[in-house]
């Protein structure tokens, strides 16, 4: 199986394991989990900067948290199964996109959605087409269930090679398009994606095009548009979204897909929506109605992102044109070397992303203040002089 997002020095898995020790209290367990990092030599801040998993540094908005407290302030609601609450969330999502509840399926993060799509629409004789390099969830799951993967190299600008992917689509079960793309942070315009969809559907009418728009809310390039309308109109197009990024809910595990009712029904039949937890549902339901917070969060990210891009540019390092909450930077040295040096100074950046692990690193965008602190560490690690920094 391909390496996963979480295959990191400090991971969800480590955290869960730590929590599991002898039924210790949650707060105590959390302190234990941090302890391993505090032991790292030279860790200046007491808590490391978590710039490695493309999370939201602020978490959910106030309105969403208030809704959570109101809903779960007493114990009883958490004791009930979530059936009707899920219907309410589907309705809220549908309304946001001018769709109907039958166009919506939810899952535990986009992870579950992407897996359901690979499960339902690929097979040992109907491969997955995916970029090399893109978000690995689909390819990793395809490998697990015995679906062959056609890995299509990026173009010279580190963008997904839409032409080559379309060429490879004939007979495929699913073509996976992460737009903007993780980990390269690059975007294809709405026109380019529309032409790609047409081309795939013409070349291979039975192929499902799975478009993952996890980072949609962080895009500032005006050539971008969501492909949700295409998904609603065409049974062969699915758009996946998540509450894990701009909505700040990575820990609450809520993702969704929009599509034609037939297609949604197939996804629903595999994973169903009953895996969602009531806290995630309540927060998602409030968060999707809080457009002002979403916009504020996007603006906050744009400013912190620009600061970081500018810092690297001044220091002589170029990043791709990021349309996400992370950068893919050419640091002209192995990511591992940079990562370990940063970690020793209390800043966590992402794991290796072959085939670019000898030159590029992925850095998630925290708050502006966090990025200023991180830049000081990057400066030391890269040997950047004070005037450049």
């Amino acid at each position: 199986m391909l390496p996963k997002e979480s295959a990191m020095p400090f991971t969800r898995r480590t955290f869960v394991k730590t929590l599991g020790i002898g039924g210790a209290g949650v707060l105590a367990a959390r302190r234990d989990a941090w302890a391993g990092l505090a032991d790292v030599a030279g860790a200046a801040p007491p808590r490391p900067l978590l710039l490695h998993n493309n999370e939201n540094p602020l978490g959910p908005g106030q309105a969403a948290l208030d809704a959570l407290r109101a809903a779960l302030g007493e114990g009883a609601p958490a004791g009930r199964y979530v059936f009707t609450r899920i219907d309410e969330l589907h309705q809220a999502i549908a309304e946001k996109f001018g769709a109907k509840a039958e166009n919506v399926v939810t899952g535990c993060g986009s992870t579950q959605i992407l897996r359901a799509a690979v499960q339902m629409f690929t097979s040992p004789t109907r491969p997955l087409v995916a970029g090399e390099l893109t978000y690995e969830e689909c390819a990793g799951y395809a490998e697990l269930i015995g679906t062959p993967v056609r890995a299509i190299p990026l173009d010279r600008t580190l963008k997904l090679d839409l032409g080559a992917m379309a060429d490879a689509s004939k007979g495929a079960g699913v073509v996976f398009l992460n737009n903007p793309n993780n980990p390269t942070a690059t975007l294809h315009s709405a026109d380019a994606v529309g032409a790609f969809v047409d081309r795939v559907l013409t070349a291979s009418p039975d192929t499902t095009i799975l478009i993952d728009e996890a980072y949609h809310d962080y895009v500032t390039d005006r050539s971008h548009k969501t492909q949700v309308p295409a998904a609603l109109a065409n049974p062969r197009v699915i758009v996946a979204r998540t509450f894990s990024k701009a909505h700040g809910m990575a820990g609450m595990r809520v993702g969704y897909a929009l599509g034609h009712p037939e297609t949604i029904q197939k996804l629903e039949s595999w994973e169903g929506s009953n895996a969602l937890n009531v806290a995630g549902i309540v927060v998602a339901n409030a968060s999707i109605r809080d457009q002002a917070r979403l916009e504020a969060e996007s603006d906050r990210n744009t400013k912190a992102r620009q600061f970081t891009i500018d810092w690297f540019a001044k220091a002589g390092y170029s990043a791709t044109d990021s349309q996400t909450n992370f950068l893919f930077v050419n640091i002209k040295r192995p990511a591992k070397e940079f990562r370990e040096a940063c970690r020793a100074r209390g800043v966590l950046v992402a794991r290796d992303f072959p085939p670019f692990e000898k030159s590029h690193v992925r850095i998630s965008i925290g708050t502006l203040d966090e990025m200023k602190r991180a830049a000081q560490v990057f400066g030391k690690v890269l040997g950047v002089t004070a005037k450049a920094a």
Binding site: R12, R13, L19, G25, A78, R80, C108, G109, T111, G280
Partner: protein, 136 residues
């Protein structure tokens, strides 16, 4: 914690590794994990909950038996009652009175109904409804 969606399996490490390849644990959310960990550390609460349920179960079982219905011996938080009539008929009559009982369980749907246990106070209220329906 039904709404928090946490379950687990225990087995040999190799078997658990096979489960984990499907990344089942990554579906867990942070709040539920925190609540589950805290709950595991609170065995006194489980004891109290078990005692509460046992009392309510005895009360409810006794109630149906007094009305002349057989109740399968229950070691759970629900009872399966032999009503001698279709579950659907009973369920719909209860629903009109705002008491929800379990769905059909073929092949016993013509004779048995599953009734989950609430608090003692809730079961007392429910029994008024059951009496009115079954007394007909």
């Amino acid at each position: 914690m039904a709404g928090l969606r946490v379950g687990y399996a225990i087995g040999q490490a190799r078997t658990m590794e096979a489960f984990n390849r499907w990344a089942i644990t990554f579906n867990q959310n942070s709040l539920s994990v925190a609540a589950a960990v805290a709950s595991l550390a609170d065995p006194a609460h489980i004891e109290a909950e078990r005692a509460r349920n046992t009392e309510v179960r005895a009360f409810t079982t006794g109630f149906f038996q007094k009305l002349g219905y057989r109740v399968l011996p229950s070691d759970t938080n629900f009872v399966l009652v032999e009503l001698g009539r279709p579950a659907k008929e009973f369920r719909e009559a209860c629903a009109k009175e705002k008491v929800l009982v379990g769905r059909d369980f073929p092949p016993l749907e013509k004779t048995h109904a599953r009734v989950s246990l609430g608090t003692l106070d809730e079961m007392k209220r429910a029994n008024h409804v059951f009496t009115a329906i079954l007394g007909k």
